[in-house]
Amino acid sequence: MSEDMTPSETTHINDTEITPEIVAEHGLKPDEYEKVVAHMGRTPNMTELGVFSVMWSEHCSYKSSRKWLKKLPVSGPQVIQGPGENAGVIDIGDGDAAVFKMESHNHPSFIEPYQGAATGVGGIMRDVFTMGARPVANMNALRFGDPSHPKTRHLVAGVVHGIGGYGNCMGVPTVGGEVNFDSCYNGNILVNAMCVGLARTDKIFYAAATGIGAPVVYVGSKTGRDGIHGATMASAEFDDASEEKRPTVQVGDPFTEKLLLEACQELMASDAIIAIQDMGAAGLTSSSVEMADKGGVGIELNLDKVPCRETHMTGYEMLLSESQERMLMVLKPGREPEAEAIFLRWGLDFAVVGTLTDTGRMVVHHEGRMIADMPLGPLADGAPEYDRPFTPTPPALPAPQIDTAHADETDISEALKTLMGCSEIASRRWIYEQYDSMVMGDTLAGPGGDAALVRVHGTKKALAISTDVNPRYCLAQPIEGGKQAVAEAYRNISATGATPLAITNCLNFGNPERPEIMGQFVECLEGMGAACEALDFPVVSGNVSLYNETNGQGINPTPAIGGVGLIKDFEKAVGNAFTQADQYIFVLGATKGHLGCSLFQRFVMQDDTIYAPPSVDLDLERKHGEFVRDMIDNGLVSAVHDVSDGGLLVALAEMCLSNHIGCHIEDDNTMGFWFGEDQSRYVLVGADADKIIAQANASGLAVTYLGKTGGAELTIAQRIHISVEELHDIHENWLPDYMKTV
């Protein structure tokens, strides 16, 4: 492109004076700005300041979290690509790879729920197909405010419509997820979207750009003024004026993304691409900086070539726009015509917008002038890494002791009904029926199970996918909460018969500049790291979302975990519903009756005190997981369900619902036994009780016999009778009834 330049174009333009106010508006602290000036060797102009500000935003630079993320286990024989690329990649045998990542779109979704959620889904799918994978499953982890908060209903409806609107059009099934309601999210909902794709291990595409002189190509949608400074917005706290930021929310076009997916897949079948990077947060800026920096080269861009949706866009706007459905690629020189033909056939823009250089700098031209000239190293990696002060979370109160005497029958029935119809356990059918969960014809188990199962097309293999975290546990005792989130993903995957392989995460926290919030972050990661290590369940990708606060009120720490596992023969997989009568029901793992942080405490006792959550014995967790997978592999069980929120009786009730098969539990027990949330437990159901007991004994594990399946009621000790039909209705009705109310 050097022929486009005039010889006189050697100095940068600097037409606006950079004042401390302008620096502050860009979200840079005064000392950070000093560093920018030092790296530049001069005062940056507005465009350069804008570029630095987004690259150094918390969202792009991980400046508060990097120190701690480095401590997470990220390797293992199954890992092909760990954190640092667009998505993580794991080996699933036979030359197949699973490619996945989870990402937040919290702030935009609160401001404009439909577009915020939709573009979150679009962004995460782009991260996955950029790596050469075809997306095969979407998941989402959503946290809304209290159901009684006046905005909650509107946000639920908008977010669900947005997720469906995007994923359904793309033709990628949304196969599961999780939803919580809690007043801590009243002013700051969480929308975490996960995408899993499949690729061949020898056809993975990376972002590192190489080849001096190679063309830099822009494909996809045109650039508009939407989303400018989205990354900066995602890195600031909210206040009442935040809704004025609506113009910084991007607008999604799933049809264009579908075209982009197909065109990229077509081009990826050739060997024309050297490197590819999606334009997500901080758009053209971050994609070009990341590609060039990872490849150790320089990059020169000519913005006159960028396809624009609007006229008179400035260079500043083009560089910072977060318009969706765009990709940047480096092609092998001379391959532009074949690539262009593919993109034009799919009706997409294609433009050579720059070249790779050997300067190690990013140089940008617009309208015949050089508008930016910056060193790449400091842009990509030079953001200050903060070792923010943190205070340990004080120990939580010991868990409450509920009287251990046998509760009377009304108490147990009423408690079970309360829990089955509470906001945390009630059926999510109203939500997931708005998502196409079956397109692509490989969804073996969709929403509603412990983990979703998606077949690797044309094989006997299936991926098991689950998203998990209990933010209340994380609030009370972040280390245990962090452990539990990973352990629960491990448990949910194991409950289907699949072997857990790796996780992605989406770490949602409050303002890291407050030591107690930073303490939550550090401790949650400590627990997560320990669990990943103990369970051979490494982290391969992830995302950090800080500053989830409104008017100084932080959210509960919410490190959402997205786990992926593999079952080699999906015909062996089991579900979590009773399949027939007269089968024997056991619980694996000790039931001590831990009620601290339980849903029983919250909804039945209606006690908001923060007591200690149940702790996780990681060694036992692993043994239990291996045992359960072994039992499934040997065909000794017909249904398995992990015992989590709500405890054992809720787990049993849930197992009755899908096929309307009840159960008879033999013995009375305490409230703690029925509703305690002790960890590492599974309900196992099978036809041969002796074998189940013998296998457990042989493994040195404790299984407790509970009773048998059958009938139309859940009964306990022939004393308590609860109709499955009634449980079903209570469970099904809460969410639709709630959404109907005005």
């Binding site: 419509h161 469906g164 609107g165 359904n168 059009c169 793309m170 033709g171 076009d253 799933p254 049809f255 264009t256 579908k258 075209l259 197909e262 799919w346 009706g347 997931y432 029926e433 708005q434 998502y435 196409d436 969960s437 079956m438 397109v439 692509m440 014809g441 969804t443 073996l444 077949r455 999906f570 015909e571």
Partner: protein, 222 residues
């Protein structure tokens, strides 16, 4: 039997239906690009589910005006069987091969779930392997499946046995008139249906109720 699947840029069930067609016929269907104006000779032409051109305008209305649809209409007039599934049904109403219109679901939400269907007419080439009056389970996934036509048209459809598939009376997912899930033209050789038979054509996916649409076509047209 040779099948062709029309591929619009936003089709997303084209591969799924191709899998079922290949399983039933033993050979790969032609995948025909929307911008083409040549349609290879085919015994059955499938308009698959998806979002043809994004469907930001009325669903299927742009697709109905695509170059390939002129050929589809011509081939249909010459007697080729045409199966429109979901978005394909919407395209068939928009291009005039079938009467009526598919409005937005009554509940104003996208709906994806299994539905219970009744086979009202097993004398079409699509439904020959079902019993008359048989109840089957096939899933739907759509935002605009609420079939509407004026009373005269509805009476005509009912009177001529052209309401080939209807939702079980207590299982109408979208508010469609007369619980209509699928209708055919006067010749019986053009069928539009909202449910997705390709999604329930093997036991691993929950059942095989949809498979007989494809195996039935092979039996009827070979």
């Amino acid at each position: 039997m040779q099948a062709s699947v029309i591929v619009f840029p936003g089709s997303n069930c084209d591969r799924d239906v191709a899998v079922c067609l290949e399983a039933a016929t033993g050979k790969k269907p032609n995948m025909v690009w929307h911008g083409d104006s040549d349609l290879p000779d085919s015994d059955v032409i499938v308009l698959p589910g998806g979002f043809s051109y994004g469907d930001y305008l009325r669903c299927g209305s742009m697709a109905a005006n695509s170059p390939i649809m002129k050929e589809v209409v011509l081939k249909a007039q010459k007697g080729a069987a045409v199966l429109g599934i979901c978005n394909g049904f919407q395209v068939l109403t928009e291009c005039g091969l079938l009467p009526g219109v598919l409005m937005r679901n009554a509940a104003l939400n996208f709906v994806c779930r299994n539905t219970h269907l009744v086979i009202n007419n097993n004398s079409t080439p699509f439904t020959g392997q079902y019993q008359q009056g048989e109840e089957v389970v096939i899933p739907v996934a759509h935002n605009e499946g609420n079939y509407f036509a004026d009373d005269a048209t509805l009476d005509e459809l009912a009177g001529e046995g052209r309401i080939v598939l209807s939702y079980a009376p207590d299982d109408n997912p979208n508010g469609a008139c007369k619980n209509i899930a699928g209708i055919c033209d006067a010749s019986g050789r053009v069928l539009g249906m909202m449910p997705h038979p390709e999604r329930r054509a093997e036991t691993a996916l929950g059942g095989e109720d949809g498979k007989r649409i494809f195996t039935g076509l092979v039996e009827a047209l070979s």
